[in-house]
Structures are given as C-alpha cells and as structure tokens.
Symmetry: C2
Amino acid sequence: MAGTKRLTQHDIAKLAGVSQATVSLVLNGAPTALARIPQETRERVQQVIRTTGYVADPIARRMAKGLNRILGVFTYEPAFPSEQADFFAPFLLGIEEEAQAQNYDLLLLTGAGVGRERKIFADGNRLRIADGCLVLGREFDRAELKRLVTGDYPFVAIGRREDAGGPVPYVGGDYANGTRALVEKARALGHDRLAFIGPSGSAESIVDRWRGFSGAITGSAELVLHVDEVGRSAVDTLDAIVRSGASAVFFVELADAVRVEAAARERGLSIPNDFSAVVLGSHVRAERSHVQFTSFNIPREEMGRQATAMLVRRIEDAAPVEQILLTCEPVEGQTLGPAKKRT
Amino acid sequence: MAGTKRLTQHDIAKLAGVSQATVSLVLNGAPTALARIPQETRERVQQVIRTTGYVADPIARRMAKGLNRILGVFTYEPAFPSEQADFFAPFLLGIEEEAQAQNYDLLLLTGAGVGRERKIFADGNRLRIADGCLVLGREFDRAELKRLVTGDYPFVAIGRREDAGGPVPYVGGDYANGTRALVEKARALGHDRLAFIGPSGSAESIVDRWRGFSGAITGSAELVLHVDEVGRSAVDTLDAIVRSGASAVFFVELADAVRVEAAARERGLSIPNDFSAVVLGSHVRAERSHVQFTSFNIPREEMGRQATAMLVRRIEDAAPVEQILLTCEPVEGQTLGPAKKRT
DNA sequence: CTTGACTGCTAATGCGTATTAGCAGCTAAT
DNA sequence: ATTAGCTGCTAATACGCATTAGCAGTCAAG
C-alpha cells in the first residue's frame, strides 16, 4: 500500500479519455470555460475522479497559482512553554478562529535552531511558505521590523508598534485610554495622591500605559510615588506606598499587585479601605488570585481575530497599512474604593 | 512596495553571474557536486544571497523534491480555546521543541469551515502540504483513522489507538500500568474495598485505565462501587462512597475528585483519614486545587516530542510502524494513606 | 459559397526548484 | 600526440497543476 504513487491529472485524463487540461478545467475551470465542456464529458471525468479518489496535489496547485492560503505566525518567544502559554494562547485562539473562518491554515514558525535568538530572517527560515505573517511577542527586534516594513512581504503586528522606516500595520490594545479611564475613575472617587508601580519605558505597551497615566494627572492630582525597579521586594514597595501617603496605587504588573496585596494584608492593611489598587491590564490567570483587582480588559482574542482579518486583506486585496487600537474596557473589580479623608 | 516580485534563483544567478543551476547547487548540492564549485564562486553566490535576503520558495522546493520540512498538526478540536488550551498546550510544547530541533516547521490545520466537524479529509486535502502529520484529540474518527492507516501518507497519533485496518503508529501514555501501580500501592497500604468513579469505556485512554484497574483487583480486593455517570452530583457520589464502605476511591477525572473532596470536607470527613482518594492521571492546572491528589504523571511534553521524532523517522527513513507507550510515574500526593481498620 | 461565430476540446507554457547529463578547457599520463 | 581524467560550470528536464492560445469541426447568416 505504501509506495503507491499518487494519482495525477494525467492518469485521470487517460482513464477518462480526455486531456490533462480538460480534467483541470472540470475540476476548477472558470464558468466561461466550463460552459464549453458538455455535461456528458464532465460527468465522465467526475466519475473517474470519484472512483479513483483522486485529489489534486495542493503543492502543485500553489505552485501554479502562487498562493498558499497559509498564514505564518511568528512569535519572538517559543509559543507554548507554560509561562508563555498563558500569554500567547488567547491571541492564538483568535487567530485560529479567524484563519479557519477565512479558510487559511496556520504555519507556526519555530525560529532557527535551539538556543539561538528567534529571528524572522534567520537563515533557513521558511517564512515565505506563508502568504503573509503575523508577528507577536513582547519585545520586537527593531531592525527586523524595519526590514519587514521596507519589504514587500505582507505582515501585521499584534500590539501597537512605533514607525520603523514607515508605519507598521498593527492591531493593538488601547492601553493609553484604558489607563486614562481608570485614573479618571479613581479621581472621581476622590483619589489625589497616586502611585505608579512598574516601568514606564522600553516596549510600546509600557510606554502607552505611562502616557495614559501621566496624561491624566491634572489639577489637584499628584504623582506621589513611582517605583520603577522590578526586583524590589513587596514589603519595600508597600513601605514606600505607605510612606508616600498614596491613596490609589497603579500597577503595571498583576504579579506586583498580588504580592503587595498579600504584604498589606499581613500587616493588617486592607484594600481598598486603606488604599486602592488598580492593575493596568487583564491577565489570563487572574482567577488564580483570590482578589479581583480593578483593571482594564485586554481583548486578546479579538486582537488575534482582527489582526488575522487585516492580514488577509493585505494579502488578497493589497490593502493599505492600517493601524487599529481596540478599546480596553474597564473591569470593575474590588480594589478601587472611595478615597479616605486624609487626616 | 507591495507588488515587487519575489526573488528567484534566476535573479540571484544573474546578479552573481552564474546559472540558476549553480545557485541551487551552492545552496544545497551534494558534497560531490559542491566540490566542483570553487570557493570563490560559492562565496560570490552566498554574498548575493545574503544581501538580497533570498530564501528558496519552499513550495517549489517541495514540488521538485517532494519534501517540505513541514509537519502538519491536526487537532480534532480547535487547539486554543481556553478549556482545550490546557489540554493541548503541553503536547504542542513538546512538538514545537522537537520540530525545531529537527528543523521542521509546524502547520496547524484549522479544519474546514466553522461549525462543521473537523475532518482530516475535508475538501482540498490541505493536509498534503505537510510532509506528514500528527493527529491529536480525545476522540478520533475511526473511518478517518482507517483511511490514514491504509493510505501512504505518514502520520503519527498522540495517544494509544486501536488497530484500524492495520496497526496505528502512536506515542501514548501507559495509563494501564500507571493505574495498576496506584492500585497496588493502595493495596499495600491495606486497602481492600475499592471504588471507581468515572467511565470505563469508549476512548482508548479510558479503556486503558479501566483495564489497569480491574486487572489489579485480585485476591482479597473487591470493587465495592463503580459510578459511571458523569453528571451525578458530588454529594450523591460521596453518599454512595460512604455507603459502599470503600476505603480507597479512584477517580478518572480530577474535577470529580475535587468536588467530592470538597463535599467530604464540608461533612467533616477528611482525606485520607476517612478514605483515600487517587486520581488517574495528572492535570495541567492541578495546582489550582489546594489538595495535592495522589495520581500518576502523564508525560505530555515527552509524548509530543517522541511523536514528532517518530513522524520524522517515518517521513525521512520510511521507518516501519512503531507503537510507544511512555511510563506514567506515580505522583505521591497527600490523599493516599493507610487503610483504616474496619470496625 | 464565403464569413463569422460557436463548440469541444488540446497543446503548450509557466510556476521555482532539484538534479542529471554533458560541454568546453585544461593537465597529466601513455 | 592521443587519451583519460579533472575542473567549472550550464542546458535541459521533471515535478503536477492552471491557464491561455488556438485548432478543427459545425452551423447559421449574408
């Protein structure tokens, strides 16, 4: 059984007593061409195809047509390791859904070689198998991004990206406005003394949060604490928060918020009674923590879906560069309450 | 920018002042052929390739060679929805690792059309783009499996599968012996009256557990309760367990074990003091529960890795059908204790 | 009876690569 | 001086399909 050669249109043609071209036309000729093949001939060919179980070789088909109906998915970090899985899975879910709806398959680009940095253009990378690709990851390589932008290979980034030798097509989350809305909510509850825990630079996603935050600090509001370092212990951070007299604390990372909350509870402080806490973004495994932090939702699945749709547009219609930011709706949570009257 | 034609070996050849054939040979000629191209020429060609960023079109390559270095991954359920993600992610991690090590890329086959059942042989047979494929999912379609076995397309199943018109190549977990080992451990601790909570039929994975379980019930041991229904409430199940006088309860599903444990605790019963509990298999998010159940480990990543390696063997060396069952090591846990002396 | 349009097909070509056969030019051995 | 063998390449072809140009035959209109 194994070793049987694949049937070709030639074989079918011989069996049906026609030419290979006719078989191809019967299979998927334009209506105008089909009109010129009489019913009888068509049926004869179809019959042979049915009895032999012939299926056209997709490779040859792509070869002839130039398109694959394959989308590449390039991740700057391996996609499935458990720590990363939580991050990538929702995106991939959206991507898979939309790809399926548009009848595309997905090619996961595994990067080149273990240990080496994952580079889109790394040698031997078979990026070009796909008709276009989605690029995701926390940190992008600027040089590669530039090369993509400058090149003619269709791609879409997931997450906002600064221009890199030209505008980058992307679908991202509107972290700036998501953050701003939370700050305004806090201010409406009387919070004036605000703290920001987390970095404010480097990746776009971080910059956007900081922009939204600092842009919303106006009037009587005041930034009384900004802890930038990551490695700092929760107790130290808590000390700093208490010392600063902050009434609302904004965390970039859920993990930091969780640790600080635990430290606070241990010290007999309660959130949001003693101070409020807000997390700037939703996190996949948030339910693992027992506290529901006030935050904003990151529509990861929708980002995946829309990025995929955009990529297909760029591939099929050579659509111009688009940049989409999806709204990040606030999540109520239990950690933002009215500000205490200062003593 | 968009619309620039892809580079071909022809273009490279013109730029380097050689023929297309030479470019191809430089790229991947046999050593004997390469020996006849002087260093100088090779470097000139390589230089052009480097500066232009040329990458061979894999489709054309496959066309000519019949190999693409692409592995298809077919899942009978969408791979990323959150409930499934926990199930598939570890397999995919292993698959991705090994594929990367073997320098293959992964093609996720999205199945045909939303809502329709996912069928390997659905229209277009896109499957054939890959050199071979891995098939995973809880439930397989027997007819499709048979068609795969009978055909000459290389594939490997993840999880043991019964013969389907011939032996199925697979890498699975040895649930039968994993289960048997746990039963024997319980018996060594004096447990004679055993309960089995969960189905015993349908999918191979279920059958294997039941086989391992019932095969280990010998001598003085006795199956005093078998709850097959899934929908049953935890309280009902707990009642049945208590009534049966079982001293050790084996659960197919972690979820059932968790619910019964909660119900027991509420009733003032404690595990493993009042009765022991064993879960037949490891679960990804087990840490979410606060109880560490005694169970066996399912080496999901390793299964993914070995299945991938096996598939590559079948593709490249036309290796014969292999069937591998990986050992499922016991997990100590805290829910299996010595049997109480019966009153 | 010529022209034109239509019918039912086929030959030929291109897609981009891998691979094989072989050609010219040279050197060393007979 | 002929032959054999080596070097450094290239021309040609195959892979399986889609597609276009066009051929031979028929038929109706002018």
